[in-house]
């Protein structure tokens, strides 16, 4: 087992009155498992419009050995809100972020596990295909959605958000499962085609343009879509839910989405 710790140096991201984000997409178990300590420290990361050695920005410590990415644990420490693309495209191993993280955490992830001990900014788990993403705090907007122009978002994997989630989560979702313990803001599951979303709190206009998949809302629905059809009341785990089908705005043939709202 190998552990690599990146501790953000105080003030390392400061440039005048600004704090310029750093892109840590090269710092995944996949990319680092075979590298020596010196190589890891001199890995280039983009900080604004120039590349820097990772060591200039993070204190780096490496312990243990690994024969593959799955035996690597990467830990990020410090004030991580301006640290972007943690675990970008990772396929194996583990990443733990000790604090709230910047945008695109776990985006395009295919496997492995990311734990954020804080909140995650927008586009966490975007276009995720596999693996596990646990966010102890809140998730920002476009969680598990897709980048501009794509028409398929998350296709697989598991995501748990223990706090609230922002707008447009899981847009164009096609597979996998998302649980939000708190509330989800506007348009959860927009354009959803498959997979499952469980929102334990409230949701605003969930399921618009849904053509497949399932959304379960345990709290209130604010602004129910006017283009869903009530079908029946069903019982899940001893609780009664109203079951709706939609979205009829896209036509009856395509309206294969299921929206379950606890009554």
């Amino acid at each position: 087992m190998r552990q690599i710790v990146f501790k953000l140096r105080d003030g390392a991201l400061r440039s005048g009155a600004a704090e310029v984000p750093v892109d840590v997409s090269p710092l995944t178990p996949d990319k680092l498992f075979g590298e020596g300590e010196d190589e890891i420290k001199s890995t280039k990361v983009w900080w604004g419009n120039r590349q820097e050695n990772v060591e200039r920005i993070f204190e780096v410590s490496v312990s243990g050995d690994a024969s593959g990415a799955e035996e690597v644990k990467v830990v990020f420490e410090g004030e991580l809100r301006k640290v972007k693309r943690i675990g970008y495209e990772m396929s194996a191993g583990e990443i733990v972020a000790e604090g709230s993280v910047g945008m695109h955490c776990g985006a395009r992830m295919r496997g492995g596990r990311i734990t954020v001990n804080g909140s995650a900014d927008c586009w966490a788990g975007c276009e995720m295909h596999g693996g596990t993403l646990i966010i102890e705090g809140d998730a920002g907007d476009n969680l598990c959605a897709c980048y501009r122009g794509e028409t398929t978002g998350m296709t697989g994997g598991t995501v748990v958000v223990k706090g609230n989630a922002g707008e447009c989560i899981a847009q164009y979702m096609a597979g996998g499962e998302i649980t939000v313990r708190g509330n989800a803001d506007m348009l959860a599951g927009l354009d959803m085609k498959g997979g499952k979303i469980v929102i334990e709190g409230d949701a605003v206009m969930p399921g618009a343009n849904m053509s497949g998949g399932e959304i379960i809302v345990k709290g209130k629905v604010i602004d129910m879509m006017p283009s869903f059809k009530y079908e029946e009341t069903v019982t899940i785990d001893g609780e009664e839910y109203k079951k709706y089908r939609g979205d009829f705005a896209i036509g009856e043939k395509k309206a294969k989405g299921t929206l379950l709202i606890r009554s």
């Binding site: 927008c122 586009w123 920002g140 907007d141 476009n142 922002g166 707008e167 447009c168 803001d185």
Partner: protein, 129 residues
């Protein structure tokens, strides 16, 4: 005298547009440092809405003092400030992953005040501090 809770929207007006490239002028300030309210809201606030009275508008993003004016066509609970620096003093900058802040549909609280409307220079000075 209590305040009222409204949904605040900002947008273009002809006067605002005409003075768009003359923003340091009094005309621009007169055109944009204004909150238009429906008769109902004005009644609740005990104001005439002739443009001589002032209100304080407060949102989660900040607060601003502007002139109160009667607006036509507004449903109850909706208030309007022409787009510009006074409106933006109370607009939240979080774009929620879209790049676009909420310039319209902002929850706001409005109350009468005797405080002065800040000039454009006062407003900018605030930002510099």
């Amino acid at each position: 005298m209590g305040g009222v809770r409204v949904i605040l929207i900002s947008g273009r007006t002809l006067e605002q547009g005409t003075n768009l490239e003359n923003k340091l002028s009094d005309e621009y300030m007169n055109a944009t440092a204004v909150c238009e309210l429906s008769e109902r809201e004005l009644e609740k606030l005990g104001l005439k809405g002739d443009g001589t009275e002032r209100v304080r508008v407060r949102t989660s993003a900040g607060e601003i003092v502007v002139a109160a004016k009667k607006g036509e066509g507004y449903p109850e609970g909706v208030a309007f400030i022409p787009m510009g620096p006074w409106a933006n003093a109370v607009v939240n900058g979080n774009t929620k992953g879209s790049g676009m802040p909420f310039f319209k549909g902002i929850e706001a609280e409005i109350e009468p005040t005797d405080d002065e409307i800040p000039s454009i220079y006062d407003l900018m000075r605030r930002y510099k501090e």
